[in-house]
Chain length 154, copies 2
């Protein structure tokens, strides 16, 4: 038996996106009010978090910028501030003298871990009651597929 896979119409995609977006807002709104984000904003934490996810520990600034919603100048200045706080290091890329590479300092890594632990714990308390383990698995699979399947054209 052949499974028919319907192409989504414009209503379907719009409604799914709206629902996903509202869920994200609802969760994020509660998260960012939590005490772990008093010293470092969610955006700043997200930079540190992204830095933990790159092999070798160094990432290009432009590459980092692709995973964030802030503009290139804003990231440049946010890195200034994180550097001033002793949380990240800057160096010029070896192969491309225009480029800048960033990595966490030990203090930065430590702070990320500390905030991350609290964050994950609070996140769990907040969202765990909403879905079963199986449903969270489906949600993860669908959102991963969504992200990786975005139209390259636009």
């Amino acid at each position: 038996m052949i499974e028919q896979e319907r192409l989504p119409d414009i209503r379907t995609t719009a409604q799914a996106w709206e629902s996903l977006f509202r869920a994200q807002v609802a969760v994020m709104r509660r998260l960012q009010a939590l005490p772990e984000f008093r010293k470092l904003s969610v955006r700043e934490y997200d930079v540190l978090f992204n830095l933990t996810r790159c092999p070798g520990g160094w990432t290009r600034l432009n590459e980092l910028n692709e995973n964030l919603l802030i503009s290139q100048p804003s990231l440049s200045r946010m890195v200034d501030r994180l550097e001033a706080k002793g949380l990240v290091l800057r160096r010029t890329a070896e192969q491309d003298q225009r480029g800048i590479e960033i990595s966490l300092t030990e203090a930065g890594r430590e702070l990320q871990r500390r905030i991350g632990r609290e964050h994950v714990r609070h996140l769990h308390e907040l969202i765990a009651p909403a879905l079963s383990a199986e449903e969270f698995g489906q949600l993860q699979a669908l959102t991963e597929k969504l992200r990786s399947g975005l139209s390259p054209g636009c």
Copy 2:
């Protein structure tokens, strides 16, 4: 036969949320660069959009604020600007003299529709290739359930 519904562990919830969040960032990053948001930022558009969704057309400012990620003072000033542009109206609430109610002007409604049409069209082009109609339906159902099932405690 009884279906066993497992409770999610902390890894499962954290990974699902991270995936959802990254998908949202990836989509939003592309959306906000589109031409329809040159005149009005995504945040401002979202306010107009929320105003189309309230019965009677008038919404309390604090109620509106719950659906947005910006702070109360920021919303207050954003409404100032939208009012100055002739897109929304302000009035004091009847039952509660402290409260402010907002509604769209005709120009505001018109602008929302115009941006909204472009927005939905571009959104569709962007995300439609990623999932089937059935999968978008599942995604919508899961994210709605997530949003409505958040722990009231935190």
